[in-house]
């Protein structure tokens, strides 16, 4: 069946937060990365089995700005308020890239609420041997090639030439990301606490990721007890846009114990 998201806004601490929802069932929340350019329609197959919820972070997409958010932990606390507003207690959580960093941070402090966790090419660790590409210094003309192994994911998403409004909306999202990531795109204290991720956890990564090298999956696997791994051959950083297999793997992992 053809699905689509419905969008609604919830007011949290004076900021209008945009929430995309589709489907029914157990709540499955996806934390997006440091940009909303390609949209989230590729995730819609998850709505066949779950109540799929994709909130836009403050300063991104259709959500308002919140200049008081300056650390990944601020964002994690923001989501406690968002989930209260949505009356969500227990949930499964998927985080991609910066959203993976956020999901891990949220789950460390709320491990009892997170039923199953998927970290998809997560940001957040400092791995000197395989360092994360600095998102802020990639030249504009090389950005798409860094983000995706399959450039067709940007078809129809980028005006040519870019309009001022398009550039300004990208600048706005880069600003919101910079508030959290400019000083460092990782938390040196994160390894100290990842043992708290005791819920079933899947690490999933494209092996052609040019933003966060796939070798970092080993470091995560060492730090997160019992985490499963899944590698996607030839897939880049925007794995859910690029690979239906990535989305199917999430559905399978999160739905494993469901009797629906």
């Amino acid at each position: 069946m053809t699905r689509s998201f419905s969008e609604h806004q919830v007011a949290v601490n004076g900021v209008d937060v945009a929430v995309l929802e589709a489907g029914d069932g157990e709540p499955l929340v996806v934390f997006h990365g440091a940009g909303t350019l390609t949209g989230f329609d590729s995730l819609l197959p998850l709505a066949d089995r779950f109540r799929l919820i994709v909130p836009h972070h403050p300063g991104f997409g259709l959500s308002g700005d919140d200049h008081t958010i300056s650390h990944i932990e601020d964002l994690a606390r923001h989501y406690r308020d968002v989930f209260d507003a949505l009356d969500i207690r227990d949930l499964s959580l998927v985080g991609h890239s910066m959203g993976g960093y956020l999901a891990a941070t949220f789950a460390i402090d709320s491990s009892e609420r997170v039923r199953r966790l998927v970290l998809a090419a997560p940001l957040g660790l400092r791995v000197p041997e395989h360092p994360t590409t600095d998102m802020f210094t990639i030249p504009n003309e090389e950005l798409e090639a860094h983000l995706a192994a399959n450039p067709s994911v940007f078809d129809g998403k980028v005006p040519d030439p870019p309009t001022p409004e398009f550039l300004a909306s990208r600048y706005r999202e880069a600003t919101a990301a910079a508030r959290i990531l400019w000083e460092r795109p990782y938390d040196p204290r994160l390894p100290r606490w990842l043992h708290r991720l005791t819920m079933p956890t899947l690490l999933i990564w494209g092996d052609a990721d040019r933003m966060i090298p796939v070798q970092q999956i080993d470091v995560w696997a060492d730090l997160v007890p019992g985490a499963e791994r899944r590698l996607l051959p030839g897939v880049g950083h925007l794995l859910f846009d690029e690979s239906p297999d990535a989305v199917a793997a999430v559905a399978e992992f999160v739905g494993e114990e469901l009797t629906v």
Partner: protein, 404 residues
Amino acid sequence: MAGSSVFDDIQFYLLNHHHYVDIPPEADDYDSVWVDLPNALFDPERGHELYQRFARELRLAEALGFDAIALNEHHSTQYSLMPATSVRAGYMVAQTERIKLMVAGVPINLSWPSRVAEEYAMLDVMSGGRMEFGFPLGTGMEYWSNAGQLNPATARARFREGLEVIKQAWTLPGPSRYDGEFFNYRYLNTFPRPFQKPHPKMYMVGAGSEETVRLAVEFEAGYSVIFVPIRQQLEAFALFRRLTEEAGRTPRPEDLAITNIVYVADTDAEAVHEAKPHIERFFSWFHRVPAKYLLPPGYVTFDEFLRRASSAALADGTRATWDDMTAIARIACGSPETVADLLAHWAEDAQTSRVIVTLSIGDMPEWKAVKNMTLFAHEVIPRIRARGAGPAAPAAEPMAAARR
């Protein structure tokens, strides 16, 4: 002219950018002269020669009777050999006796505000009270060139706190305490304190934004503006005067400064012929910087970014033609009469008595810079001073000394 005018106490500040003047033969290969220009292009021996050359020009400024020397700071660029402008200012304090020095200045976000307060107090005491200070936020490029700990998205809030710390360090008896979002001082206790009372003249250095004008008025500082179109400068100055009056003070001509590129020769045609290639390269090479470096994330608001992205002139400033530049910017090239008339008009129009002039610019050779400075001091300054009630004599050394 009846009554008091901006010309009664008009003062001329010689700004020398300290460019690393040698444009590489393969210049077209580089998209940027800032942030990522390979520093292999820097030859230390050539750098040493240039520091000596610019010191000669600045000493000449004193001998010729200029009122002040102005120095600025930029990082990781051939535009400037002064990434630590206080170091250069300390050197020039020792090389001069009378002339004022304006350091405009350390972007305080790149340092600790207490340390800036200390360095500047040292300069003021060492120079016997000859210092003035300009406080820039720092261009977007400085935020790329310096530590990642300096977040452009919080730069303005941090800058404001830095200013508070400096002003407190200079005006409150120490030790004092400061509890901020970015800075926390248990014993703020600047030693030495500045020579001048209550502290050296402060200017905010802006690019025409309302925010910086408001900051200047709030901190009771002057306001100066870098290269933005004249119309925009005048709007900012008008706002400064209005806000100053609203704050219950009277705006003074010395609280505003205009920055000008000037070249003087015997005739208008000769001046343009001699200066134009260097001024064009000042914009096409030394100002070459991609939009990405000008505007790191969060350095300006969404609305301001959209305004700039929508303005073709601003988006492609380094490719402006000579006619475009001279139409919107303060570029005065001509005979002494032409230049004096233009600068006098600009000063009057802006209601300012502080005229900053750049006379050595781009890849201009020393002989042209010296000729330009000499003609400016002998033929232009007296013509402008003559319009006021102050000393109308030529700004040559004896009179300059007598003024002090």
